[in-house]
Symmetry: none
Amino acid sequence: MSTITFDQAQAAIDAAVQKAISTDTKMNIAVVDSGAHLKAFRRMDGAWLGSIDIAITKARTSALFETVTGDLGASSQPGGPLFNIELSNGGLITFPGGVPIVIDGEIVGAVGVSGSTVENDHAVAQAGAESVRSSRQSFAG
Amino acid sequence: MSTITFDQAQAAIDAAVQKAISTDTKMNIAVVDSGAHLKAFRRMDGAWLGSIDIAITKARTSALFETVTGDLGASSQPGGPLFNIELSNGGLITFPGGVPIVIDGEIVGAVGVSGSTVENDHAVAQAGAESVRSSRQSFAG
Amino acid sequence: MSTITFDQAQAAIDAAVQKAISTDTKMNIAVVDSGAHLKAFRRMDGAWLGSIDIAITKARTSALFETVTGDLGASSQPGGPLFNIELSNGGLITFPGGVPIVIDGEIVGAVGVSGSTVENDHAVAQAGAESVRSSRQSFAG
Amino acid sequence: MSTITFDQAQAAIDAAVQKAISTDTKMNIAVVDSGAHLKAFRRMDGAWLGSIDIAITKARTSALFETVTGDLGASSQPGGPLFNIELSNGGLITFPGGVPIVIDGEIVGAVGVSGSTVENDHAVAQAGAESVRSSRQSFAG
């Protein structure tokens, strides 16, 4: 089982912050390892306090189920196959903003972002997650 | 009150693992006794970390209400008679994957499975629960 | 980061059960991976229900701090440098009975045992942890 | 109420990491704002997983009571005036490793560090907290 390094986690946060700045949003950004344990966290100035826990929980949810959080949320609605799964694992967040970090086909961690619309949250998390993947690819190249 | 033995719990897990292998799934499998207390647990290599808690909670939910979890979930939807019952008992899971273990008409425990679709989860839990029943019947016969 | 496999976790539990039988004790035995997530659990017939949580928490504590739990407890007493550390991480157990599983100098998980005196608990956990190490050594040999 | 900025929090973590490297320790480092809410966090490669929560809680404890955590711990021992204060606020840590960040005589946040002896933890937290103070002073100068 591979897991994210200190430098990769920082790179993911830096890339996410750049994306947040470019979309004029103020974000909480969390990175967890493959075991869903917090590896790095940053809160931008002016970001909502209530989003600290949500960002961390999105990252944790993404790592625990190896999925983008929004996909889980699509199944947890009333009448869906995973209704109220959010109550498990000490609390999950299943709306968008959590994205796995994948290197060589293996999930090494996840990014969770909260502070704006779920579309913006997802885009910023995606930017963070992709930065690790591409840095690794260029490193290998 | 009858309850499941160490050997029966292990047999249930072994049968569930075999079913998981035959359906190409990677499962978390929990067995609780008639008092809803954990008796045995196995996590297959590669199974989701987030399914540990869900497997245990499905088994616990099944034993606490002496039912397959999916039946409870049918009543816990918005507008249903048991809306949000998942919030009780320190957290329940009411989607499929929890199955009581019955011997001679008496519930002696339950199996909870998580790691795939709820249909697969239920099938694997069912295989585990039935193995105890049939081993007892063949033993008696 | 290496972590324990399904087969190794089962081997650890089997060895611990054998040790418990030989010492005439009834134990709860938990195995967690290197990320402190539950991998396997068994409760022997007649073992205390209150020891389920303690066994799991000992294993988790051992993995979280890469130590035998008793060593942590020696520092958490009144006046000690880690007083009340047990309140962290959602609850820790710092008396003996949690032992890391080490392969090639790397901690791949931990065993936690509860059900008798802390000396017996530690001995049974130690037997479980050592069985993985030695099976690996003979495998390598 | 003044509070720590994004850049100051990052500077505190960078200074703490440098101190950890120079003392050959592997640390979890948390920075909270004056409201005791997480602002930044880093886990160095190889640092104990159990220290994530402890680092954050030390920083939180330090900000909540505007004190170095060790001073609080001196009063929380059996027979002391604040016995078991660790049970309040959803859990506190009162051994050394939490240090307020002071600018112009005002507490703007706190650093919490965990991963080694409490002496090392405190020294690394102190290095982080002082870096913010001195950067501000040189900035003003």
